[in-house]
């Protein structure tokens, strides 16, 4: 009850951020928070698979497919992203199933699964570069402008629109995570993650659950890619589908803790704030310094906080609260 009230209060505070007068800073603050919302949503989508041992290092593929589908449809055919997003999600789910079905069928798990997905990400990235006649190759592609405020093109110069839009998207991601967490699928997937053969032997349809979770994760990731492309209004193969992006998603989630609802959000907020802070601090004077510290911090965090920051803190908190209750029960 207390946590629920606290959560709602926090949510209300976050929702009021755009209304706080911050002078010149407000655009920048909004920009950072919007990015946190979108990447948290993507991290959440990744963790739907990651928490069950399906560690994908190629979620950039889904981001790229999603973002490029709506962008190309809009630029070449003038199709509104409101409809394009359906095509984008369908395309990403199709890619996911093409790779995941054989993976599940032939029992590709663990390291092998991670490396197959890594290859999938590379294929998409290189295809985007190779098809430079439409995609602009490594130079990327800018969304065709539809004026200052266009509902059909989902283009707004006012960042507040994107702020609330991204917040809704983020909440949607949390809701999906929560629903899955409460469903039968979670128990089934946990059993599969522990031991596939044992799970199959008690009557769990291993392939169906694995493919379902993978499709869900891929579709949501593509949705996140579309949201990001609409906000930035520019797509680039490296920033969407590179190995770096795929790893960043995983880092943020593992850092926050992938077994808790808010883990991906905490991890993403932390990594984005850290990299923004370092970028502002070092700026153009020491190119690479910000990323250097970021990389070092990641290594240290993973060595010393293996359950993730939020996961560890929560573990501490929950244990403390439960201890007296357990003592009472014994007395």
């Amino acid at each position: 009850m207390i946590t629920r009230v606290l959560g709602l209060a926090l949510l209300a505070a976050v929702a009021l951020i755009p209304l706080v007068p911050m002078g010149g800073m407000s655009q920048y603050v909004l920009h950072v928070v919007i990015q946190i919302f979108i990447w948290s949503f993507i991290g959440n989508a990744w963790s739907l698979m990651g928490r069950f041992g399906l560690v994908s290092l190629g979620h950039g593929a889904f981001l790229g497919v999603g973002a490029y589908t709506t962008t190309l449809l809009w630029n070449f055919y003038g199709l509104t992203p409101w409809l394009g997003v359906f095509v984008a999600v369908a395309a990403a789910v199709a890619v996911a199933l093409v790779v995941a079905y054989p993976c599940s069928r032939f029992g590709i798990v663990g390291h092998y699964f991670a490396l197959v997905t890594l290859a999938m990400g590379e294929v998409i990235r290189l295809l985007l570069i190779a098809e430079r006649d439409w995609t602009g190759g490594s130079l990327g592609l800018t969304l065709k402008s539809a004026g200052d405020a266009s509902f059909l093109g989902i283009q707004y110069t006012d960042k507040r629109v994107f702020y609330y839009g991204a917040m809704v998207v983020w909440l949607l991601g949390l809701w999906v995570w929560h629903r899955l967490d409460r469903s039968m699928a979670r128990a089934a997937m946990e059993a599969i993650g522990e031991d596939e053969t044992a799970a199959a032997s008690v009557g769990i349809h291993v392939s169906r659950f694995k493919l379902g979770v993978t499709a869900l994760s891929a579709g949501l990731t593509a949705f996140g890619g579309v949201a990001y492309a609409q906000y930035i209004a520019y797509v680039n193969p490296e920033t969407l589908s590179g190995v770096g992006v795929s790893l960043r998603i995983v880092f943020a989630v593992v850092l926050g803790g992938m077994y808790s609802l808010l883990g991906p959000t905490v991890g993403t907020a932390l990594t984005i704030s850290l990299s923004e802070y370092l970028r502002v601090k070092f700026g153009v004077h020491y190119i690479g310094m910000a990323e250097t510290i970021y990389g070092l911090a990641l290594v240290i965090f993973i060595i010393f906080l293996p359950a993730g920051i939020y996961g560890s803190l929560r573990g501490l908190f929950v244990r403390k609260r439960r201890a007296p209750a357990a003592a009472r029960a014994r007395a």
Binding site: V55, H111, E122, G288, L296, I303
Partner: protein, 295 residues
């Protein structure tokens, strides 16, 4: 130009691409063997592996090109650095998380990758740095092959033979193979796994150093060298079967031929796209690698 076009109209160009692919395969095989050795023993994929080789390349560049050391001495320094890096990664990063979930181990070396990449950018900027050698280009019946590639291929093959002898003929080599077969049993037999891990990491690092010496005479080095050669190295390891030395050796040549011929027939990106797509397809046909025994 398409592949059919190439075969019909320009067989010489195709042959040249095939030969270059073969020569590239030697060096890729060396990298893949180093990574595979570590994986076989420690059950951890060092995502950062090719970036370690990149650091060795930088050292060779600076000793040879800036300080004027002879190339062989520079190469020796690069190999020594490889050994040190291999040991350092194992002791500082892997040892504390040896019993963590695999994803954390993968990510710890991934964090190191970010660190090395950006630190290299910070220290040496994104300029491409080249060791200038005046080696001739050889001609075989109309095909042109650079001498440096030929040397690199020859040395790579020699080092791989050396590695084979080390693993089969020495005591510690046998111990390494034993650990890669069964980690638990090896400890039960009273052997010290930590020592085997250290030797493996050092040998793996050394192979990265040798590969660096062979790469620097063909390619220029830049902070994203590891990102360019890393994924293909992992694919080779998996395709050959993680931990399977012979498989990695063969897979290296398959992949390098596809990249080289695909690069000439379409574009260099398409060469990689085909190689990665084939990798995914082959994984489905033979999940344990091309030389895995059917279960």
């Amino acid at each position: 130009m398409s592949l059919v076009d190439l075969v019909v109209n320009n067989p010489l160009l195709l042959a040249e691409a095939a030969l270059n692919g073969l020569l590239l395969g030697g060096v890729l095989a060396l990298l893949a063997l180093g990574l595979n050795l570590i994986f076989g023993v420690l059950d951890i994929v060092w995502i950062v592996y090719v970036d370690l080789a990149m650091l060795c390349m930088y050292l060779i560049y600076f000793t040879v090109q800036v300080y004027g050391w002879p190339l062989l001495l520079g190469a020796a320094a690069g190999i020594a650095l490889g050994v040190v890096l291999g040991l350092a990664v194992h002791l500082l990063i892997i040892t504390p998380i040896l019993n963590s979930p695999p994803v954390n181990q993968l990510l710890a070396t991934g964090g190191l990758l970010f660190f090395i990449q950006s630190f290299a950018t910070f220290l040496w900027t994104t300029d491409h740095k080249t060791v200038r050698l005046s080696l001739p280009t050889l001609e075989f019946g109309g095909m042109f092959v650079s001498f440096s590639r030929l040397i690199a291929f020859g040395i790579a093959v020699l080092v791989m033979i050396g590695l084979y002898l080390f693993l089969t003929r020495t005591y510690i080599g046998t111990a390494i193979r034993a650990v890669s077969q069964d980690r638990g049993a090896m400890a039960l037999m009273g052997a010290n796994p930590q020592r085997v891990y250290l030797v493996t990491s050092a040998v793996g690092g050394m192979l990265a150093g040798v590969a660096a010496a062979l790469l620097i005479i063909q390619y220029s080095v830049h902070p994203f060298f590891g990102a360019a050669f890393g994924p293909i190295t992992f694919m080779i390891c998996v395709l050959g079967g993680l931990g399977n030395m012979f498989g990695a050796f063969v897979a290296a040549f398959i992949m390098s031929e596809i990249i080289s011929i695909g690069g000439v027939a379409w574009s260099s990106e398409m060469g990689y796209v085909i190689a990665f797509a084939l990798f995914i397809v082959l994984m489905f046909i033979r999940p344990g690698g091309i030389f895995a025994k059917r279960q």
